[in-house]
């Protein structure tokens, strides 16, 4: 795999590139969030301090059960008299002042063993993730002004001796936004931890990784959120805080160049980790979209199955809809033709019939009109009413 070249920036200005370095092979290791998460959950337990209740807690009474027959529950009771404690239940987890159920023991398995290779796998993954600005941004670091990823500064960074110079360097390089984020996120811890010497919480800022310090560790350590680490002992707890990939890392040139000998490359084993070889990815090409759209895949695909081509139309009533009736009964055309012909032939006779009817009606109308008039005349005449 051809490895790209990374610019090494001058600490004086982000615009000037002092030199370039080939990307160490670790940054091309497979990114395994699952491995990192697993290893992180185990590793995070390794700094725990034991806690337990006292071994004698709740058991410091010569309590004995009163047995049956005394109209009380059979729980062991405190003997003696003269005090309110006497006769009270003891020992049980349900009793007041009794020992708890499953009393915590100091010999709990506090620390977890993780196989060395798994630890190294996780660290490689975490380093690879730190080179991808998408993941670092997703983790929450403010990296919009960082000129290039991974960010490598020249070795003159080792000689930065004062915190104000360190801050200036970070500002020039675009890393100070992350420090500001960390500083502004300082809050009093929620919960009981605040009264247990864990008063404040704040976000993690950039991790500065170096190989040799000539005063820079003291210069950077007081900046809020900034953490320092030697290349030789990179910890997953710093590279993937919370088990989340993508810590913002600032490298010195010396540290960056040392990575190839610490972790090895795909051509040679690691020099400083005996027997360790960089993990290999399951898929050399993880770009699913490209694979799907590639010629090799597309050429052997079966044609896409579309839905059923049968479209059932809306039902139309053939008794009302002439076109549908005709489709069902082709003879209908002949019937219709015959009837229209008959109708037009009948028209003449019909006209005659109508005319005759009209005459009859007219005559009748006249007759009735005559009768109406006669009646009215008779009714309006003086004299006897006669119908």
């Amino acid at each position: 795999m051809s490895r790209p070249v990374v610019s090494v920036f001058d600490i004086e200005s982000a615009d000037s590139v002092a030199s370039t370095v080939t990307l160490p092979a670790v940054f091309t290791a497979p990114i395994r969030a699952d491995v990192v998460h697993y290893v992180h959950t185990l590793m995070a337990k390794n700094k725990r301090q034991a806690y337990a209740v006292s071994t004698r807690a709740g058991m410091q009474t010569p309590a004995e059960s009163w047995g049956t027959g005394r109209a009380v529950a059979r729980i062991p009771r405190v003997p003696g008299g003269g005090t309110s404690r006497s006769g009270q239940g003891a020992f049980g987890n349900m009793c007041r002042g009794g020992r708890m159920f499953g009393a915590t023991k100091i010999w709990r398995h506090w620390h977890k063993k993780i196989s060395v290779n798994q630890r190294r796998y996780a660290v490689s993954s975490a380093l690879a993730a730190s080179a991808l600005p998408a993941l670092v941004q997703a983790r929450g670091h403010r990296i919009d002004n960082v000129p290039e990823f991974p960010l490598v500064l020249s070795d003159s960074l080792n000689r930065v001796a004062h915190t104000k110079d360190a801050r200036a360097v970070l500002e020039r390089v675009g890393a100070y936004d992350d420090v500001v984020k960390s500083r502004d996120s300082r809050k009093i811890r929620v919960g009981a931890g605040k009264s247990r010497n864990r008063r404040h919480t704040q976000r993690r800022g950039p991790l500065v990784v170096y190989d040799v310090s000539e005063g820079m560790d003291k210069a950077f350590r007081n900046l809020p959120g900034v953490e320092l680490s030697l290349v030789d002992n990179l910890s997953l707890l710093d590279l993937a805080p919370g088990g989340h990939l993508g810590r913002f890392i600032i490298w010195t040139k010396g540290a960056f160049e040392k990575l190839d000998s610490i972790f090895g490359t795909y051509e040679e084993s690691a020099k400083f980790k005996t027997g360790f070889n960089l993990p290999r990815a399951f898929m050399t090409n993880a770009d699913l979209t490209r694979i799907i759209n590639s010629d090799e895949v597309q050429s052997v695909l079966k044609p896409q199955v579309t839905g059923p081509t049968l479209v059932i139309p809306k039902k139309r009533n053939p008794l009302k809809n002439a076109a549908v009736r005709l489709a069902l009964n082709p003879y209908q055309a002949a019937v219709v033709a015959r009837e229209t012909k008959k109708a037009s032939a009948d028209k003449a006779t019909k006209a005659k019939v109508i005319a005759e009817k009209r005459q009859v009606l007219k005559a009748r109308g006249k007759e009735f009109a005559g009768r109406r008039k006669a009646f009215y005349k008779a009714a309006s005449a003086e004299g006897e009413i006669a119908f």
Binding site: I31, A129, L132, Q137, A138, L245, D287, R290
Partner: protein
């Protein structure tokens, strides 16, 4: 790295996710057209990113089209990965600009319709 791989790392949990009750999962990274937490719209993960948004500078509001830089090497430079171009406020011209940027350049044609709708808003 491939966008599918990055999405697998990010989809469970990332600092841009915003969840609320009865709402789809939202995401507030720059370059996300719909503000939805999904692979299709993600502004972090995709090599080709499209967004139409409004930007306020004082009292002036401009409509901005955000796209990702064509060069693959820009992915390693977080500052210069996303490009912003103004869109005309006159809707006919602005919509034409959106179409030109998507269909005209064969760039995220799947988002064209949504981008136009968002522009109108």
């Amino acid at each position: 790295m491939s966008s599918s791989l990055l999405w697998e790392c990010i989809k469970g949990n990332n600092s841009f996710i915003r969840k609320s009750v009865n709402m789809p999962i939202m995401s507030r990274e720059p370059g996300n057209l719909m503000g939805l937490h999904s692979f299709k719209f993600s502004g972090l993960v995709n090599s080709k990113v499209l967004d139409v948004s409004s930007k306020k500078a004082g009292s002036k509001e401009t409509i901005v089209l955000t796209t990702s830089h064509k060069k693959g090497s820009r992915a390693a430079r977080p500052g210069s990965r996303l490009l912003q171009a103004g869109l005309k406020k006159l809707s006919k011209k602005g919509l034409a600009e959106v179409t030109k940027a998507t269909t005209g350049s064969f760039y995220r044609q799947d988002l064209e319709e949504l981008a136009q709708k968002k522009y109108i808003k």
